[in-house]
């Protein structure tokens, strides 16, 4: 195993460079690998270094060396061309055909609709998702959903960093084919792991990446809310169009979003990947129509799946308006520009993100209304 590793570092460095530095994204990739990593309330810690000088934990962490150019070639078989939205085969407005799904899910229910369809068609027999914890208010916890009912139970966005990759290895023991739904950092970790274990790609035939500007820090958020509301009755959080709403047993409570934004994880400021560029399919909101999703089709297998889902009337796919695409690019570019600026001043950022000089310069010089590379 170790001879495949390219970074030649281990848990001690992971703890020192990432965990202690507040750079952990909480993706959960290291947690399922070995018993030395632990998580509670979305905080990942190292019980103690395992004594190995190099390990998979360091290799697959999304905040250790991330060579996007190399990963792009491995995932898509070609170099990066679209520096803003990443390699893709199409962008759509998407919606689940089922009203029941739409009602439960976020926006158009594209993710939930895709998963229930994949399960029904036996493309997968389980999906790694996130559901609210039964023990702790507003804490999302990883869950292996194996029935439509379980998938529906997990519907709806969660805004903190559930470590869902924690259950990957356990889930692989229980299922033959898995779907994984997660944030960009999680998709990156999963792809990094697939470099070490190529056979994993067959076992996880559907990777759905979620648009993600940042994830909130659960522990900070909880403290913030506990001081401002009756937290014990809180059931669910939603952030529709820049408003922060907590659903409680007694109804809705809206809080000032600006201070809450500040509670996002510091590591998210280093994230270069708003649209989950290494997924099979990427899904987000539209910031426009609240009953539709944005769907980016990226890989060949993603494209095949989307086409089938459309044909079998699981997903409605409509053309994505050009003016909306410009706004989407704008959002993605804004995030990238901040990171690229950091690349020139912060050693940490340089150690982590590897993109070509061409891409770096392009992002740095791109004007706010982004566009496809000439």
């Amino acid at each position: 195993m170790a001879d495949q590793l390219s970074l030649h570092k281990g848990p001690a460095e992971l703890e020192f460079e990432i965990l202690k530095f507040g750079l952990c994204t909480g993706c959960g990739a290291c947690l399922g690998l070995c018993p030395y990593f632990k998580v509670r309330k979305e905080k990942v810690v190292l019980l103690e270094p395992c004594g190995k000088t190099e390990g998979r934990c360091y290799e697959i962490c999304p905040r250790t060396r991330l060579d996007l150019e190399d990963l792009n070639r491995k995932v898509f078989g070609k170099p990066r061309e679209d520096f803003v939205l990443g390699t893709h085969r199409g962008i759509f407005l998407a919606q689940s055909w089922k009203k029941s799904v739409q009602a439960k899910a976020q926006y158009g229910g594209a993710v939930t609709g895709a998963l229930t369809y994949a399960l029904g068609k036996k493309i997968i027999d389980g999906a790694i998702l996130v559901n609210y914890s039964k023990s702790y208010q507003l804490l999302p916890e990883p869950m292996l959903a194996r029935t439509e009912k379980e998938i529906l139970a997990c519907a709806g966005s969660k805004y903190t960093s559930a470590p869902s990759l924690k259950i990957l290895d356990d889930s692989l023991k229980q299922c033959k084919k898995l779907a994984f739904v997660g944030r960009a950092c999680q998709v990156e970790a999963l792809r990094k792991r697939m470099v070490l274990e190529p056979e994993l790609s067959e076992r996880v035939p559907l990777i759905i990446g979620l648009f993600c500007m940042w994830a909130l820090d659960y522990r900070k958020l909880y403290q913030h809310l506990a001081g401002r509301m009756e937290i014990n009755s809180a059931k669910k959080i939603d952030i529709p169009f820049n408003r922060f709403v907590v659903y409680t047993a007694k109804g809705k409570k809206e809080l000032d979003f600006e201070p809450i934004k500040e509670l996002h994880k510091a590591t998210c400021d280093l994230c270069y990947d708003f649209t989950s560029e290494l997924a099979d399919l990427s899904v987000g909101g539209t910031e426009w129509k609240d009953d539709w999703n944005t769907l980016i089709v990226r890989t060949e297998r993603g494209q095949e799946f989307a086409a089938k889902a459309k044909k079998d009337k699981a997903l409605k796919l409509n053309e994505f308006p050009a003016e909306r695409e410009r706004l989407l690019r704008n959002a993605a570019l804004g995030k990238k520009k901040r990171v690229v600026d950091a690349l020139f001043v912060e050693k940490k950022a340089r150690e982590y993100l590897a993109i070509s000089d061409r891409e770096k310069d392009w992002i740095k010089n791109a004007n706010p209304i982004g566009g496809v590379k000439k």
């Binding site: 690998l33 018993p35 632990k38 998580v39 509670r40 810690v45 019980l47 395992c50 004594g51």
Partner: protein
């Protein structure tokens, strides 16, 4: 039958020092005994508790040493003979009442046996208890063998009744835990009737201090003629060795083996305090040089020097006195540190008198060098296989890490004291005395600006011994901490003596147990009990408690593995390791079970490079099944389900 209980006077039997002490009390017709266990003293009260059924005296395990001694004082006030025994730390707990009852005096013979632990084989200190006798102005005897210990106890009762004071008998590990031949004596029939007459008043006050001095001097006068002091050797020896306790035997043997019988004499002192001044002057006045051997502090040495300084006024020349103060007599770790040993005596005689033992052979010297190269691994103490404390410390370790606020664990005294070492994952930050943990936590838990969570631990026996005031204080003053009682159903460290929570008394009779939960609830505390073997559950409860930032009490309850081992059925399934599944030292494990969790039964198979179970050590508790990341640790056969109750 236990030879300690035999009525055959004159018979010689093998006895442990502590048994001999108990036998001495029985021969003296002791009426009342009360103690709290502590190595190396515990077997005294254990023996007296067994003997109670035969001889009818009262025997109890008290909640702590102070209560035990006070109970004995009560018996003495009513004219009965009483004895309490404890380790050196226990005497500190007794110290308060000792330094007032010395003034008030006592009536029935009362003996306080304190067994010191030089070298700290099983203690957090190696305090020299003899200084307490000096502080409280009480007579003190120092036995050197089990046989002498028995005789001294009998004498101590008589002396106590003559001088109306408690008498201290100071044993040490090499008397209490030594075994030797002891000749049985007559057993005095118990016939006293307890009563407190009109004049039986015991009032401690500085006004009666002169009476204490009178009584003290009376004891001193007796000691001048005591048979427990003896001189062995030529008259007018130029070299006199003064020794007390087992050091006396080492000195006699060394003088003999070095062929110094004609040149050096040994003055054995059994009446450690107050010193028989005239006897000391008589033997030392003629000597040119004096060597003093004792454990641990230079107590005898200092007192000798004071006596000889006084002798100067009688025109007597003071000999050179070699000892710990001058550093001429010292162990490998320095003077006044650690046990005395025959080797230290030999080395000192070589250094001072030039008398040497023959060197060891070339073969052994070479082998010693070879072994140094091999670096023979030492044997650090560890929790036993199957010990619930390992599970508890595992849960605490995980909780403090996951909590991620640099929480601290404050330790206490018991088997779990090993929490300071590797077996307890080096978690405990403190190690002092019984009940100190919750006391320290009272400070940390109320410290403005201190944001690290505080966990204090104590065992079930320690809880009753001295945690209650600290717990009440924490409640009253609002100290934030999680206090965990590690309840393993007995006083495990000292040999499973019962305590108020166990529902059994010293005689093994059923009594109503005092519930830890109810005591805490009575104080008004939130308390929750959990089995530490249920890792996930215990972890959640502890983490939730930590996150409240309030005072919470948890009880981690699981029987001591040694007690459980005795109750284990033969058909309990064996724990095995599926070496096909075991990851060994590969990425994803690297010997997590044997190296990190570190139960002594989890060993390493050097040939297959996989984990293995040492069946001789394994208690089949099965807790390691929950540790293995691959599920390679299994029970050999599934537990047989009990037939459903009809």
């Amino acid at each position: 039958m236990n030879p300690v209980f035999l009525k055959e006077s004159g018979k010689t039997v093998l006895m442990m020092g502590n048994e001999a002490i108990a036998r001495g009390a029985i021969e003296a017709g002791v009426d009342f005994t009360a103690s709290y266990p502590g190595s190396p003293s515990s077997e005294i009260q254990e023996t007296l508790a067994q003997a109670a059924k035969v001889f009818g005296h009262h025997a109890e395990w008290s909640v702590n040493e102070k209560v035990a001694f006070e109970a004995c004082c009560g018996a003495s006030f009513a004219g009965m003979r009483s004895l309490t025994s404890m380790k050196q730390n226990g005497l500190n707990v007794v110290s308060d009442v000792l330094n007032t009852v010395n003034l008030s005096g006592t009536k029935g013979g009362i003996v306080l046996v304190v067994a010191d632990d030089p070298g700290g084989h099983s203690s957090t200190n190696e305090m020299d208890s003899r200084l307490h006798a000096k502080l409280a102005e009480l007579p003190l005897l120092e036995p050197s063998t089990p046989a002498e210990a028995k005789e001294m106890i009998k004498y101590a009762f008589e002396l106590s009744e003559r001088v109306k004071l408690p008498v201290l008998v100071r044993s040490v590990t090499r008397v209490s835990h030594a075994r030797g031949d002891v000749k049985l004596g007559e057993i005095q029939t118990r016939s006293r009737k307890p009563a407190m007459g009109f004049l039986d008043r015991f009032i401690g006050h500085p006004l009666v201090h002169p009476i204490l001095h009178l009584r003290f001097n009376q004891a001193k006068a007796e000691f001048e003629k005591s048979p427990f002091n003896a001189y062995l050797g030529p008259e007018n020896a130029e070299t006199v060795i003064v020794a007390s306790g087992p050091s006396a035997a080492y000195a006699i043997e060394a003088v003999h083996n070095l062929g110094l019988d004609d040149q050096a004499g040994v003055l054995k002192i059994g009446t450690g305090w107050p010193l028989p001044e005239q006897l000391v002057i008589k033997h030392l006045a003629r000597a040119k040089q004096v060597l003093v051997f004792e454990e641990v502090d230079p107590f005898l040495e200092d007192n000798l020097k004071v006596v000889m300084a006084g002798a100067v006024f009688q025109g007597i020349a003071v000999p050179k006195i070699f000892g710990k103060r001058g550093g001429q007599i010292k162990g490998p770790r320095g003077a006044g540190i650690g046990e005395m040993s025959p080797d230290i005596v030999y080395d000192s005689l070589a250094g001072i008198l030039g008398a040497r033992r023959p060197e060891r052979s070339e073969k052994f010297l070479a082998a010693g060098k070879q072994a140094a190269e091999w670096k023979l691994p030492g044997r650090e103490w560890a929790f036993c296989a199957g010990c619930p404390h390992r599970a508890s410390f595992w849960v605490i370790k995980t909780a403090l890490k996951e909590d991620d606020r640099e929480g601290v664990l404050i330790g206490d005294i018991g088997c779990y004291s090993m929490g300071v070492s590797k077996t307890g994952y080096n978690l405990s930050r403190t190690l002092q005395c019984m009940g100190s943990g919750i006391g320290f936590a009272n400070g940390l838990g109320n410290l403005a600006g201190f944001h690290q969570p505080v966990i204090a631990i104590a065992g079930d026996s320690t809880f009753f011994h001295s945690c209650l005031p600290g717990l009440v204080n924490a409640k009253y003053n609002g100290a934030k901490m999680v206090f965990i009682v590690l309840d393993n159903s007995g006083t495990a460290m000292t040999g499973f003596q019962p305590h108020p929570g166990t529902g059994k008394n010293a005689l093994g009779q059923q009594v109503e147990p005092v519930s830890i939960e109810k005591v805490c609830a009575g104080i008004g505390l939130t308390v929750q009990a959990v089995d530490p073997f249920e890792f996930e559950q215990a972890l959640k409860i502890l983490e939730d408690a930590l996150e409240t930032d309030q005072l919470r009490v948890l009880v981690f309850r699981h029987k001591c593995a040694l007690i459980e081992g005795r109750e284990r059925k033969e058909d309990q399934p064996r724990v095995i390791i599926d070496q096909e599944i075991c990851l060994g030292d590969a990425c994803g494990c690297n010997r997590f079970c044997s190296r990190v969790f570190a139960c002594p039964a989890l060993i390493w198979d050097n040939i297959k490079q996989k984990a293995a179970i040492d069946e001789v050590v394994c208690t089949r508790c099965g807790v390691c099944l929950k540790i293995c990341p691959k599920g390679a640790i299994k029970l050999e056969q599934p537990l047989k389900k009990k037939a459903a109750k009809k």
